[in-house]
């Protein structure tokens, strides 16, 4: 052994390791700050970052994420973040995080300095910026002005048959059907099935008779026999051809009828709705069909919630791992040999986060929550992800079970919010913005169940002790008068139950974007 070389070599390695251990925290801190700032489009600052080697883990103190839209405020501030990783997992391909703790989380706090990105990072951001898809916006619906009912309308004029598009189209379709019927009759007649069939039958009978009479005495008889057999074959072919022709016509007719049927169903439905809208427009209450009181009343609140669900639930679910099949053995050619790919044998998920604890304070509000069992492979982990969050001052209970252990992912989320103060909440996005809330408390109970691609959402919203301020707008609106009267006598107002049960995200998207009245679920 070359001790004169080995000893200085190991000494050098030791010094290098010590140097890295001493300065690594600072290097990682600056890298994290820079990358996170670029992602956030505003400063992300860390007071102190510690990487643990003996007990593998990470500790971040004083994380401040500036708000890109308002650089003088922090979007979120976290006092302490601790992550502890399983030592054994570091020697394998797996990452097992035993615990993540986030304490003293506060949102929307003031900053002492601007959180704008420094010029250097701004330049880099510009270079890296990519176009992002537009987020889905749930439209706010409008309440009608019921003053219109004070006017008098001529009903005959409103529902005049000559004005209705659906009636016009129905007439046209009826003509189409009759012309199609006559065309098909002509085509069938042109085929002349009966005479053709009779002709073939006569030919067959003749051939059969001739066959019976034939006596084979010499080579000439054999030739005649051959001729008769050929005739029979030809007759069979002709019959088959006729059958094919009839079947083709039948199929063609069926197709035409199906197309017409579909056109009738879809088009008539659309035209009827169009006519209805036209009549309502004449009446001046076009918006009435789109309106659901609950949605209109709580539009800003529900709209934001739905936006949040729509924009994030899909993303989260898409990011959740899917069932994987074992990779087959395959070979790949390379310039310097071939890589033989062997199947991956999973002895468990590649990533497990056993427990994450969160505590948050915001003014009088406080939240505490635990998330258990986040994993990259729920099937082999075998347990669902559980989220339990509880809040004080406006009691909040949020429980979620994200079960992706089976073939069909089942996610259930239940939210129970009680006594959320509504003071100062302005309905600026809908016609009820003629009012502001002076006082009131909101109770919200929501149950969301996602099974595969189907969504089942139930919400019950109750507003208690509601006092509205109608002082500024809509003085001459009948709707306002009705509401005022209701509010005088109602100690609490339950906005009913909104139930969404849809079979796919696409349907939900269409329902939200297009809002065709008839396709929306009943309130």
């Amino acid at each position: 052994m070359r001790w004169k070389f080995v000893i200085p070599f190991f000494a050098f390695i030791l010094i290098t390791v010590a140097f890295v251990a001493f300065f690594l925290d600072g290097i990682v801190e600056s890298i994290v700050e820079e990358r996170a700032s670029l992602l956030n489009r505003a400063k992300v600052e860390i007071d102190n970052l510690d990487i643990g080697f003996l007990r593998p883990g990470l500790r971040i103190r004083g994380l401040a994420v500036a708000n890109a839209d308002n650089p003088w405020r922090n979007m979120v501030e976290v006092g302490d973040i601790g992550i502890s990783v399983s030592v054994l997992s570091l020697f394998s391909k797996r990452i097992i995080v035993n615990e993540v703790v986030m304490e003293k989380v506060r949102v929307n706090t003031k900053r002492k300095s601007s959180g704008e990105l420094p010029r250097r990072l701004k330049k880099r951001l510009k270079a890296e910026k990519k176009k992002e898809g537009k987020p889905v916006q749930v439209p706010c619906l409008k309440l009608p002005n019921l003053e219109v009912f004070k006017k008098k309308f001529d009903v005959k004029e409103l529902v005049d048959i000559n004005r209705l598009e659906s009636v016009k189209r129905a007439k046209q379709l009826s003509e189409d059907v009759s012309s199609m019927k006559s065309r098909w009759e002509t085509e069938i007649n042109d085929l002349d099935v009966k005479s053709k069939a009779e002709e073939i039958v006569t030919k067959v009978q003749g051939s059969l008779e001739s066959l019976q009479k034939t006596e084979i005495k010499g080579p000439a008889d054999l030739l005649r026999l051959q001729g008769n057999l050929r005739n029979l074959r030809e007759a069979t072919d002709a019959l088959r051809g006729l059958k094919r022709e009839i079947e083709g016509e039948k199929l063609d007719f069926k197709r035409q009828v199906a197309t017409l049927e579909k056109a009738l169903k879809d088009e008539m439905k659309r035209l009827k709705e169009q006519d209805l809208r036209a009549i309502l427009k004449d009446l001046g209450i076009e918006e009435l069909m789109k309106v659901r009181l609950a949605e209109a009343f709580l539009c800003p609140f529900l709209g934001k919630a739905m936006n949040l669900i729509w924009n994030n639930a899909g993303k989260i679910r898409a990011a959740m791992p899917k069932l994987e099949k074992d990779e087959p053995v395959r070979t790949r050619m390379r310039a310097n040999g071939r890589d033989i790919i062997f199947p991956s044998v999973k002895k468990g998920p590649d990533f497990i986060l056993r427990e994450a604890r969160l505590s948050m304070e915001q003014g009088k509000w406080s939240l505490k929550g635990i998330i258990r069992g986040i994993t990259s492979d729920p099937v082999s982990y075998g347990k669902p992800t559980r989220i339990d969050i509880q809040g004080k001052r406006s009691k909040l209970v949020l429980n979620a079970i994200l079960d992706h252990t089976g073939k069909i992912p089942i996610d259930t989320v239940s939210l129970d919010l009680m006594g959320y103060p509504l003071e100062g909440l302005a309905f600026t996005e809908n016609p009820l913005s003629l009012s502001n809330i002076t006082r009131g408390f909101l109770d919200l109970k929501a149950d969301l169940a996602l099974r595969g691609d189907s969504i089942d959402l139930k919400t019950m919203t109750t507003v208690k002790n509601l006092v509205l301020d109608f002082s500024e707008r809509g003085k001459e609106n009948l709707m306002v008068d009705i509401l005022k009267e209701v509010m005088k006598t109602a100690p609490s107002l339950s906005i009913g139950t909104i139930r969404l049960a849809l079979s796919s995200w696409a349907v939900l998207g269409r329902a939200m974007m297009g809002i065709p009245p008839s396709e929306r679920p009943a309130p």
Partner: protein, 172 residues
Amino acid sequence: MIWLKIISKIIRILNAEATPKQIAGGVMLGMIIGLTPTFSLHNIVVVFLILVIKVNLTAAILSMFAFDLIAYGLDSLSDWIGYGILTSTALRPLWIEAYNAAIIPFTRFNNTIVMGSFVISLILLYPIFRLAKYGVERYRSDLASTFQRWRIVRAVKMSRFYRYYQTFRNIT
């Protein structure tokens, strides 16, 4: 110039070992690096062994370059051997286990040429050692004096290049 002195001392330590066995050892270990693709994880271990065990460094470096050239000619043979070993049914459980282990995949053992050339170098390990040892002994006992008398050797010794080499050798 302190760095130069440190480097020269290290090289002197590493080059001090010049017995036939040590030279043969250097040739043997250099062969592994030369025959197998250079940037493989197992070669780090081999380099470490060259530096730690008392083998001749110059011999190892020369052997590495020489076998690197030979390896190009052996590529198709390495590929054939490697493919045979990696697709063998009997060894398949072992490869699957290794493929799913923590560090082993970084050795690129599942590459046919890496596997094939590594197996070839393992097979050649002892014969090369014996051959190199015999060669050095034979050279020292019989051929050295004859070799020194060759005109070409004398011409090289008189060249500027050799003078530089000697200066370098004296420093180390």
